[in-house]
């Protein structure tokens, strides 16, 4: 397998490596500018705050994202089952409309229901993260060619075996796409939870804005952006290696 993978992969894997490379160059440029302009020193004043808040930020994202994956994938699977075909389009429409509600509004609603703190924050982020994963899981499963399912049933697979051995593996790439999008949204929206008292890097951003303190704001904004890129990169790597070569357009 490794020998064959070696033959097929290099050309395309190089293409994937270029994206993070560009990001790195831009980042390096930014850092260099920050350094020369003296901004970096002013930002690094907040380094203790940054390291504490990054961890808090990641914890919020991990809870919200993890719970969203745990709920959204099964929901997408259920919606794609033949028994639910009648309602599934209607339900997806509701989800689509739901996804137009701004995260800030969801957090506000969440706060009115659950008060302030970590729990309503995780709930709000979870709700905002859910939708792309459900949508992609559903779409990915619906896009599995019917003849594959027919062949699987015709060879004597049980419905459960068809789902686990044929449908999910073949939808995995699309499902992963949904997870990447969702987590990028999650990381990017997480600063807002500061507004309902859950901390995170939003603390530096919003306080910086209120005090008209640019370095403080940057101390929150730059790590947030870097986290978003990093999370997406890590998920991209997982997607690259986890999705079998036969159905992975990147390999």
């Amino acid at each position: 397998m490794s020998a064959l993978a070696g033959q097929a992969a290099p050309q395309q894997s190089r293409r994937i490596e270029t994206a993070p490379l560009i990001v790195l160059i831009v980042l390096a440029g930014t850092v260099a500018w920050l350094w020369w302009s003296g901004m970096a020193e002013e930002i690094l004043v907040y380094s203790d705050d940054i390291s504490y808040l990054v961890v808090q930020h990641l914890e919020l994202v991990a809870w919200a994202g993890g719970l969203a994956i745990l709920v959204a994938v099964p929901v997408g699977v259920v919606l794609s089952r033949p028994a639910f075909r009648l309602f599934s389009e209607a339900v997806m429409q509701v989800f689509n409309i739901g996804s137009t509600v701004p995260t800030l509004a969801i957090l506000a609603l969440s706060m009115t229901l659950l008060g302030i703190g970590t729990v309503p924050a995780v709930f709000g982020l979870w709700a905002a993260t859910l939708l792309p994963i459900v949508r992609n899981t559903y779409a990915g499963l619906r896009a599995v060619p019917p003849h594959l399912v027919e062949a699987a049933i015709g060879m004597g697979m049980t419905p459960r075996q068809v789902l686990w051995r044929v449908e999910l593996p073949n939808a995995l790439f699309v499902i992963f796409g949904g997870i990447r999008t969702a987590l990028a949204i999650c990381v990017g929206s997480a600063p807002l939870v500061f507004l309902i008292g859950a901390g995170g890097l939003g603390e530096l951003i919003f306080t910086g804005i209120s005090l008209d303190e640019l370095p403080m704001m940057m101390a929150g904004a730059i790590p947030t952006a870097m986290l978003a890129v990093l999370v997406d990169f890590i998920l991209g790597q997982i997607q690259y290696y986890l999705v079998p070569r036969g159905i992975n357009p990147l390999r």
Binding site: M1, L4, A8, P145, H147, L148, E150, A151, A152, I153, G154, M155, G156, M157, T158, Q161, R165, V166, P169, N170, L172, P244, R245, G246, I247
Partner: protein, 371 residues
């Protein structure tokens, strides 16, 4: 053996059903290929899918080796029947090895046994196991994928196979090759096969029996040669086409249709002697053989009537021959191409074994062939 008994499928409301398959009964002996043939929407695929219960029959029964399949769990039933579909349906997320081993794995075979089986099967169709076992379907050509699709159906060695237009998606040249390959394999494995097709030429080539369907009804069930010689009604006649006599040519071997009472003479014989022998027989020419018994030249009746001297002076060289293992289509083609009303037929050693004439072909077809 597969037996369908009054197999019926209705769709829609019971008081006004759409009849997809209407009381189909047929018997297929073990080791034979039955092609279900007909225009699209005639019920042939529905009939096939009722055999492995992908479609639940409304009425009637299916027996496989004497066993009523409605008493068997459908999942188990399907694992015991090989299944090949037109779109091939190899699982793109699995390697070729995993694809071939799908049913053995479902049946819980020992892993080494199933992997050995995959290797053995690939060798059977001339795909090198080292190269192909670990590849993914998208890395194979269409023809290779279709071969693997058939192998996957054969993996657990099921006695019965269902094939739904299995070669339909392949280009004509490769299709011929794969059909030949499959027939060769079938001669050894002797599976009982239900094969759906809409291509008459394919059916004539592959089938031991052809079942022609029209709007859910089985119109005729017969061996290909029978069917072409004696279509049961005008629908079938139209379906077979006005060139059905030509289609039959492929089904008859040269050895079966040739005349064996040919005349041979020596080059040194006089033309008068040859003429007398031709006149006293039903033949229209006399052949001169070489030392090995191969036809070398021919003295036709017209030449013999008009000339005198020795045979060697007037006999014309034989332009072409046909092997007795060939089919009539080949023979007719050679006869037209070289304008030879009398075509020598030779055996494996190249010796003259018989003579083909237009009259012997017409005679053979007129008598309904082998039957």
């Amino acid at each position: 053996m597969i037996r369908l008994e009054n197999l019926t499928k209705h769709y829609g409301p019971a008081h006004d059903p759409l009849i997809a398959v209407d009381n189909v009964s047929l018997d297929l002996p073990t080791g034979e290929i039955c092609v279900l043939l007909g225009p699209s929407g005639c019920g042939k695929t529905t009939t096939m899918k009722m055999i492995n219960r992908l479609i639940q029959p409304t009425g009637g029964k299916v027996f496989i080796n004497g066993k009523d399949t409605s008493t068997v769990d459908p999942i188990e039933l399907r694992r015991s029947i090989g299944y090949v579909i037109q779109q091939i349906g190899l699982f793109p997320n699995k390697t070729i090895e995993e694809n071939i081993c799908v049913v053995p794995d479902l049946l819980g075979w020992d892993r080494r046994k199933s992997r050995d089986r995959a290797k053995e099967l690939l060798e059977l169709v001339g795909l090198q196991p080292d190269l192909f076992l670990k590849r993914y379907p998208k890395e194979l050509s269409g023809g290779q994928q279709q071969r693997v699709g058939v192998l996957r159906a054969l993996a657990a060695d099921p006695p019965v196979m269902l094939m739904d237009e299995p070669f339909g998606a392949i280009d004509p040249i490769n299709r011929e090759v794969i059909q030949e390959e499959f027939l060769k394999m079938q001669r050894e494995i002797r599976k009982t096969i239900i094969f759906v097709s809409h291509d008459l030429d394919e059916a004539v080539k592959m089938a031991d029996k052809i079942a022609i369907f029209r709007s859910g009804k089985l119109e005729q069930y017969a061996a290909p040669d029978d069917l072409l010689a004696r279509p049961a009604n005008s629908f079938i006649e139209d379906f077979l086409g006005s060139d059905r006599a030509l289609k039959r040519l492929r089904l008859v071997s040269v050895g079966d249709a040739m005349e064996t009472d040919f005349i041979t003479v020596l080059e040194t014989d006089s033309v008068e002697h040859a003429r007398a022998r031709i006149r006293s027989s039903r033949s229209a020419a006399a052949f001169v053989l070489d030392a090995e018994g191969a036809p070398r030249s021919v003295l036709s009746e017209q030449v013999a009537e008009a000339c005198s001297g020795t045979v060697g002076d007037h006999a014309e060289p034989v332009k072409s021959t046909v092997p007795i293992t060939g089919d009539l289509r080949q023979a007719v083609s050679v006869m037209f191409a070289h304008d030879m009303p009398l075509l020598p037929c030779i055996d494996e050693a190249g010796r003259l074994a018989g003579v083909m004439s237009y009259r012997s072909i017409v005679h053979h077809l007129g008598h309904g062939g082998k039957a």
